[in-house]
Subunit: 271 residues, 2 copies
Amino acid sequence: MARTRSKSFWSKYQIAWRQKKSLVCVGLDTEHKQLPQCVRSDRNPIYTFNKAIIDATKEYAAAYKPNLAFYLAAGVKGLEALKLTIEAIPEDIPVILDCKVGDIGNTMDAYLSAFFDEMGCDAITVNPLMGKDVVKMMMNNEKNFAFALALTSNPSAKDFLMNKDLYQDIANWIKTFDSKQLGAVVGATQTDYISKMRKLLPEQIFLIPGIGAQGGDLKAVLSNAIKSKEEPNILINSSRGIIFKDSSANFAESAALEAEKLRDEIKKGIK
Amino acid sequence: MARTRSKSFWSKYQIAWRQKKSLVCVGLDTEHKQLPQCVRSDRNPIYTFNKAIIDATKEYAAAYKPNLAFYLAAGVKGLEALKLTIEAIPEDIPVILDCKVGDIGNTMDAYLSAFFDEMGCDAITVNPLMGKDVVKMMMNNEKNFAFALALTSNPSAKDFLMNKDLYQDIANWIKTFDSKQLGAVVGATQTDYISKMRKLLPEQIFLIPGIGAQGGDLKAVLSNAIKSKEEPNILINSSRGIIFKDSSANFAESAALEAEKLRDEIKKGIK
């Protein structure tokens, strides 16, 4: 049974923030070879693992972000696990599928149908290289949301994104759309870039990966990334730092502790 | 059973050209709602359809290009159909998965494992926005090949690709890699752009979509796109123009006729 998607991603995000004071996005990068021994004999170990993680962390999660690659790598059973995982996420917690698709026409339509209609996701990540044609159809349904890849901190970001200020062009492009339907993936940990992105995009939600356990930079990132203390409009993603913290049979409890810790550090960092 | 991938994509492409004089890439954009009535009651209609198309067109096909979106849109059964389809393609005809993935690190690794190792594809399409980190791991296996999105002809290509000459930056970037492992998706039908791309990339294979039945421009596209008459180093993709030409029970025979016609028009256009 697909999720009903009674509310838009934007509404779910706002409600999660107000009710839980959490900005933690739990990344479900559930790589098969990293699974704890205790779930491996299950019929569908990826799903068993995810279900336990979700039940343990839902109190602290503002969103969940499964990453399509790890489910495709596990074949048909992986895709089954992805569907079951999304169904297991409480209706009021938004699901962001990290798929970075960026196609057009009937191909993009097919992806939207797969991810929003069939799987019941609330948001996806998109690659904006092909321009407006990538996101325009997604906007036909006001419940849909996408995070466009805008700034990344990988070494070769300099090849294109940091060359000729492409990341700023992407930010200015994102700004031409409704901020209730399009946000930005802002992966850089350098605070001056994050601060520039917030100036360019005052209203948009930023999905910020790559922080996780490295608490060191968190405070600086937060103060530069948030819109305001009342409406931070960010999500801080942590994947392996939460879900694979502990490979023992206590993996879910450990994940809950990590999620709670990150939620609290973020709350403290915003004040 | 996955394909053995005994040869590299590059070798398979060279052999197909020499033996068949074909540059036709048959796009398997097998959208469920477009399937002919006669296959719809089958257990897996998408696979039944593809198998018939492959058997009828393999004499004329230099490559097959299934498009991931349409298989994901059909859920678990769609992913099964994709695996079976790839297995049904003769070992000596290269399979290009159109997925336009563009991720990094262990995420990209998971995609490579899914598409090359598990499914047995010979090549994939990639989105180069995140730079070298997207393609460097793929190159660890010399049998692998990728076509990087470089120039497209959709209306919003002007947003980024045609802005500040990004498509030329991408071409220059492609040139820094081995042409036996990285080619370019060159989708523009304007002959002056194609000609510019060939000057920038004298050796690379171009995957050229969006021509199909529109024979009008074909000759001009060909003369600007090929490396030489002996080694054209291009693939002309046609999807719906071949596979959905005829929705009757004769769909496979009609597809074979279209594939043969396109092969012959290309041969004529190159002379």
